[in-house]
Amino acid sequence: MQRQVALIKQSLFDQGYLDEQFMELEELQDDANPNFVEEVSALYFKDSARLINNIDQALERGSFDFNRLDNYMHQFKGSSTSIGASKVKTECTKFREYCRAGNAEGCLRTFHQLKKEHSTLRKKLEHYFQLARQAGPKETARRPK
């Protein structure tokens, strides 16, 4: 089962969902906090759901306050960077570029894609953590090849 967990993790990196920062977080896990990464991920998804909701509401109002949208997305990008959510981070960057360009359609399109990536990552990580818990602790964290 450890091998299955390792393969799933490898695929998350290979498919670009996660980057090196996720490994940095796994290196911080110890006996005192064996589920640290899962806990931080849960925090991330709770916080990012709030930001998504704020942005959704701002976009639904119709009048694009690009400064406010950019501020929300700055926070979102910050969190995404901190946990290694690579694809989400990329969409955050694109959204911010559209904000700076005052491109409402670009913002809407990118936000739609961002929500897709976010939802996909959430499901994949939930599955990964569930399997990791079932598999039990491993001896050392290993970087994917």
């Binding site: 290196e27 110890d30 906090n33 991330y44 916080d47 990008k77 946990i83």
Partner: protein, 135 residues
């Protein structure tokens, strides 16, 4: 650096304050500090950092985010220096263009690191600020 090679600075009794409005970053920064044996507290913005010092708390190291509500990192750093706080302050932010970095440094920082913070970056801060000597 492997887990076994990380220095344990618990004997040095260093203390640190994490100043960041983002819960994900708070959690990560606190864990990084704890991993090195550094006791730490956390506040959510610059005003809380200033208030903590006004209430008599003091820290060897402050990890200061830049963008925060109520009082941002630049304002808080300036205020702390005006109050005579001599703690080492390291700016930790995603904003890294030269102009923003310069403004933050000129507020009174001792060091600056771009987020995301990692063990290597934290050790770099500690080394530069003379809290840790690499052997």
């Amino acid at each position: 650096m492997t887990r076994e090679e990380l220095p344990n600075l618990a004997e040095s009794k260093l203390t640190a304050l994490v100043v960041d409005d983002n819960f994900v970053n708070q959690s990560i920064h606190q864990k990084l500090l704890a991993r090195l044996g550094i006791q730490n507290d956390v506040v959510c913005n610059g005003k809380e950092a200033v208030d903590a010092h006004c209430s008599g708390r003091n820290y060897d190291l402050i990890l200061m985010d830049m963008d925060m509500p109520i009082m941002n990192g630049i304002q808080a750093t300036k205020r702390l220096r005006e109050m005579g706080i001599e703690s080492k302050i390291a700016g930790v932010t995603t904003r890294a263009n030269e102009g923003e970095k310069k403004e933050f440094m000129e507020a009174g920082l001792n060091d600056f690191q771009e987020k995301p913070l990692t063990i290597s970056k934290l050790l770099s801060i500690l080394h530069k600020l003379d809290f840790y000597v690499q052997t």
